[in-house]
Symmetry: C2
Subunit: 394 residues, 2 copies
């Protein structure tokens, strides 16, 4: 038996392991210090009442013969797909129910979608980047080209007509940089993709953080996108589902390559290798779209955004350059005083007892940058910011 040798080309993922080890070691040698973590991408606010009430009701249904739910449709129940359809309709984007696939999270689908593409496609990925895009392509033995996202383009890479690509990854609002594409910029990507017969894999996991009404929250707000894009979305950050696991993927009917409907190929992939999301979880996700659910999740989003504002104001005061933090839960800052990413990590840990994420861990263009997240507790965020200010003003 031969293994998939592409796996041997994967780089070990040292980033979060090293961050955690350093934080643990510091705490062990300084047991009296309170270390505050602003590095993780996980949420801290619990599920809202609308969601937990819906889940309790669904668990009760599962306990009775009359209302029990066995195998559901692999692509999700209509009740949840209809709620998502209405959510898109509010922003004037019209979707068919069969274009929506309920998933157990954006991470799974962003990886699994590659099943329907041939190996010999050229993949274009921004640097810095969410490591899953790169690793899943390395596993499949695909050629990856990187495009520079850096301070000169506001960490928003734009298409280069001289470069051909078949599969393009875009994430907006971006992880890790928090930068957000406007409609003109996305239109340039859509036009490039259609001209190149390429497919855009659009990661919209942070769309709910976009407050500016003029900014796109879905690539399907752009004309021509239904001919070239697949969109991935998630309840993880929207409604605190990181441990509850639900997302959705939109594959338009108009998306045809090599004469084949990508929607039909993805349906075949999902009906063959997936058995749907738990009924109880789908009922919880449905409740996110009720009036009560929307009110409650937006309270949580507002809380995280206030955290982002607190961090951003401190950086303004310190004269530190950053992106994100307004339409995004992430703040991506230039390390002060010419420090490298890991140098600044050590400085913050030792001088302020604050843990963040070194930008260098997300790619070459991340060197000299640093990610802070707004997903923490309010008091901790405030205290961390005061400590960072004190350390840098010394």
């Amino acid at each position: 038996m031969k293994i998939n040798e592409n796996y041997l080309n994967l780089k070990e993922s040292y980033l979060f392991a090293t961050v955690n080890r350093k934080a643990r070691e510091f705490q062990a040698s300084h047991p009296d210090k309170k270390v505050i973590k602003l590095g993780i991408g996980d949420v801290t606010i619990p599920l809202c009442t609308a969601v937990t009430e819906a889940m309790h009701k669904a668990v009760d249904e599962m306990a009775t013969k009359e209302h029990f739910h066995g195998y559901g449709p692999e692509q999700g129940y209509d009740f949840l797909k209809e709620a998502i359809q209405s959510y898109y309709a509010k922003r004037n984007t019209s979707l068919e129910l069969d274009e929506i696939f309920i998933s157990d999270g954006a991470k799974s689908d962003v990886g699994n979608i590659l099943d329907i593409f041939a190996q010999d496609n050229v993949v274009l990925i921004p640097d810095p980047v969410y490591p899953v895009y790169v690793d899943t392509n390395v596993m499949a033995g695909r050629e990856v080209k990187f495009m520079d996202a850096n301070a000169s383009n506001g960490f928003l890479a734009m298409p280069d007509p001289a470069v051909h690509a078949d599969i393009i990854y875009l994430c907006s609002p971006n992880n890790p940089t928090g930068a957000v594409y406007n409609k003109e910029q996305l239109k340039a990507w859509v036009d490039y993709a259609n001209a190149n017969d390429a497919v855009i894999l659009f990661d919209a996991a942070y769309e709910v953080f976009v407050a500016d009404e003029a900014m796109p929250r879905s690539i399907f707000e752009i004309e021509g996108a239904k001919q070239c894009a697949i969109e991935f979305c998630s309840f993880s950050k929207t409604a605190g589902f990181t441990g509850t696991r639900c997302g959705y993927t939109v594959v338009p009917m108009d998306l045809v390559r090599g004469g084949e409907s990508l929607n039909k190929l993805w349906l075949r992939r999902q009906t063959t290798k997936f058995n749907g999301v738990p009924y109880v979880v789908q009922r919880g996700a449905e409740a996110v779209f009720t009036e009560e659910g929307q009110k409650q999740i937006h309270e949580a989003i507002a809380y995280y955004k206030e955290n982002a504002k607190i961090i951003a104001e401190a950086l303004d005061e310190l004269g530190i350059w950053y992106t994100g933090g307004i339409n995004s839960p992430y703040i991506w800052l230039q390390c002060p005083n010419g420090m490298g990413s890991w140098e600044f990590f050590d400085f913050l840990l030792e001088q302020a007892n604050v843990v963040g994420t070194p930008g260098a861990g997300f790619g070459n263009n991340g060197e000299g940058f640093f990610r802070l997240t707004a997903f923490g507790d309010r008091d901790n965020t405030k205290e961390a910011v005061e400590r960072i200010k004190a350390a840098l003003k010394k």
Copy 2:
């Protein structure tokens, strides 16, 4: 962009679509008849109290800041892995926690495991078979060899030393035939796999139906299996989780191919393309292994087995040959009077208003055979059996 053209080699899956269409058409033209379905593999008994209580408790935890669970380990929580470890220990099989991976169901993992294997492996699959084994390999462009399971070997294919294979699928108790390998037979497969440097993918989704203490419920009861086998299991049929989605996959530390640990490769696959099973579902699955949970699920299993016995006794009375039904929820019978699979399907639908599954839909060796399931309601099962007897005695 080039699509994965292997998808174009997939056969359309007509089996269940045709079964459902025929049943629907018959009902429409005979609105006064009550059609009974003994064709589906889905369960009908609701989740047991131990499970729903655990799920309610977990939903309550998710509603509080103090007990909220965000991202969990991709490979599952230790509390559930420890419960599974103890379950195996009761049958004298010792597993390390890191050998157990919690999944969203056996179907997902049986498909996704292929990620870690090279394309140019020879795959050996029994015929008749659960269609997912074949389709997932066709999607990856692999060569598939079939091995005959038929009445002459009791629908239990045995290794042929003249045939080399790299990846071997075994399902015991078998879907669709209900046949179960004994320890000597599985030992022959383990020896063959080790001699051929092959890997056995062992689907144990129906293990809980094995009542005979002498019969193996896990391939790891066989000496040498930890050097050549991966086992897939599921709570779907064990505890009615078809709509709740949880299973587990065991990849032994001793399983090494091409100098690489398959456990390590699978861990990398799962941490990259999967984000774990919902916390609430994992707590429900944990409850299956409590004293109360075991008592309750075995009441449901006993109910289904009594259904199987009712069907089997009728077949005995009619002198019809069958396998399964004792250590399995499936009964696989030879169509009486030389009828073909679809001919018998039509006969049963028209003469007894009973729906089953034509064996021909599971592979060439299924022609002339028919699957009935024990997952139905008791009264319906009894009535169906009486109608079948009456129709055949006419």
